[in-house]
Symmetry: C2
Subunit: 366 residues, 2 copies
């Protein structure tokens, strides 16, 4: 499946949840499949922390890699591009084509860096709504995403109840727990601690790659599970034999994996974007200022499919259950499945066969 | 309870597990209670990663703080100093009085830094055995410890079966899992990433405090549980109100806690020691080179009390169960208790009432 990277330019300012403004903004996006004549088959896929608009397909036949969720998005797949017009956009604050801290601040002619305003999940949704208008989509048949993408899907149903018919929320939560805030804060501290970070002003210098790599390694521990790490690495040594080297060099395979993942991340991601997106998640709490979480969904009309994964300890099943209880308290049509999986948080990307069954049954019913 | 910090100087070299040698060595230790006439009431308490020999009591009446496990060690407590002669020593490789990477290398007259040889849990036990001889203790009535301390207790039973009558192993494991190796490796990477680390040569310069603080913050997440963080911090904001500040400053209480813990750790711990002790744990695998874990305990004669804590995800209950199965396969007298606790890994330090009951019953029976 070939796909084209596109950019939507919005020439005005957006009012953000914090009260600050941001604009003009670019939103990088891609579309897959065709919008039908009734404009009733549009599906928005929201990406997670380190994702981008390139959810599936290739840009050219010689491209080595498909988009990040190609297993789930395409003809005949869980999100079937023969049936649905699939849209995916890079979030505001990101670093893959949409306006973010690495973008040029029109007021100074230099990258925003930390002058970029603090964003929330609701602000990301606002950017997606402008794109929706631009694409002439009157309503999403489905908004979906995993992890931070699931937060956006939830926020959509709350911010714009009339614009979302169905939401599929995977491995996510209605509000970040203190453990997850902690698991965002320590990576931030790793970036702050890198002298190359220079309080965010590194765009004409060496970026804080060492700090960003450490930050990402913490993430990779949280994406896997105790079980999946045992299956994937065990205590196998990197050199292939069984004799310890008694050195600080890479000794175990799991160390090699983390070092590789950390380092390769620095080649594709901006440290300031990483910081801003982590904060957007920290602030995510649909119950903020309300007496109960259930109150957040009072105006919501979407139908829900909520999926959690038994070994996901970053967004554990209890958080999805809490969400489903809040939906049911409002009489909302909500299907909940706790998938038995060893893959940890990554399961939402990997358990595509189960996802295909679930989305097919859910979309058939609703 | 007043106690005196003591040091045992061993003037020769110790042969280490890696084949390297280390010596002369100092071992910092403290004792509590009295050795009886039969020399049969000696109890060794082994400390965890960031612990030291000062397990209980105060050095003077004006001391502000007691030792790290004062709740459990003292007259009438779980480890009753009216009955037992309690010994606690700082591990080799540590930074609280025993020889470690910050100590002077007699060959150069400068701190060892990374010339310090790689140590294992078995080498720590070897140091304790020399101290045992020095103190004239023929056999330990009990060797006990939590976390890395539990690894030492296990190693004792395997290395010196005749010298250990009973072992009490808390919140520990017979071999580090890849997840725990990963949770050691990322803190190491945080230290390596700090330019002040200078490949370990920072003793006459500014130490790598930023990296060590990040390293320690990761630890503090693993010491708590999802549940205990919700109870302790929830989503409460640091400023006490409910309005988000939309800033990278400390926003949530949990962030403030981590920053404080990270920073205060740098005032009392040496980064190189932190690295060496983490590696000693990585290498800990009683089944290394053996067909099964059970084989490791073939010569063991000690009786065991093994305790895990339901919310401990650093050394989860399955690891204690695996250990107990291996003990039982050898016909060893092993009592296992999985304590229902929300405190996470810290439970081994905090659940002292349950510990008191368990140790009393166990020691009465054996």
């Amino acid at each position: 499946m070939l796909v084209k990277a596109q950019t939507f330019h919005y020439p005005w300012e957006i009012k953000l949840q914090s009260g600050a403004t941001l604009g003009p903004v670019d939103i990088a996006y891609e579309t897959y499949g065709e919008l039908n004549a009734e404009r009733s088959n549009a599906m928005l896929i929201c990406h997670a922390w380190s994702g981008d608009a390139h959810v599936a397909g290739k840009y050219s036949l010689t491209d080595k890699k498909e988009g990040w969720w190609d297993d789930a998005v395409g003809p005949g797949k869980a999100f079937d591009t023969d049936k649905y017009f699939v849209v995916c956009s890079n979030v505001l604050g990101g670093c893959s084509g949409s306006t973010g801290p690495a973008s040029i601040n029109p007021k100074t002619g230099k990258p925003y860096a930390l002058d970029f305003p603090m964003l929330t999940i609701a602000d990301m949704v606002e950017g997606q709504r402008l794109l929706m208008e631009h694409l002439g989509i009157p309503q999403w048949l489905v908004v979906t995403g995993g992890s931070m993408g699931g937060m956006q899907a939830l926020q959509w149903t709350v911010s714009y109840p009339a614009l979302v018919k169905n939401a599929i929320v995977l491995a996510s939560t209605a509000r970040l727990s203190p453990q997850t805030i902690a698991l965002n804060e320590v990576p931030r501290q790793a970036i702050y601690a890198d002298p190359n970070w220079s309080n965010g002003n590194y765009y004409d210098k060496t970026p804080p790659n060492a700090g960003l790599a450490v930050a990402r390694m913490i993430g990779h521990i949280t994406f896997l599970s105790d079980e999946s790490m045992r299956e994937k690495f065990g205590r196998r040594l990197q050199r292939g034999d069984t004799n310890y080297g008694y050195t600080f060099d890479t000794e175990f395979e799991v160390e090699s994996y983390l070092r590789y993942r950390g380092e390769s991340f620095t080649k594709r991601f901006d440290a300031n974007s990483f910081l801003y997106l982590s904060k957007a998640m920290d602030y995510f709490d649909l119950s903020h200022g309300l007496p109960t979480l259930a109150r957040a969904f009072r105006e919501v009309s979407a139908k829900f499919l909520v999926v959690s994964y038994t070994s996901d300890w970053l967004y554990p099943s209890w958080q999805s259950k809490e969400l489903v209880r809040a939906l049911l308290a409002n009489g909302i049509d909500a299907t909940y499945v706790d998938i038995d999986s060893n893959y940890g948080h990554d399961a939402f990307l990997l358990e595509v066969d189960r996802l295909k069954e679930l989305t097919r049954d859910f979309l058939k019913r609703v």
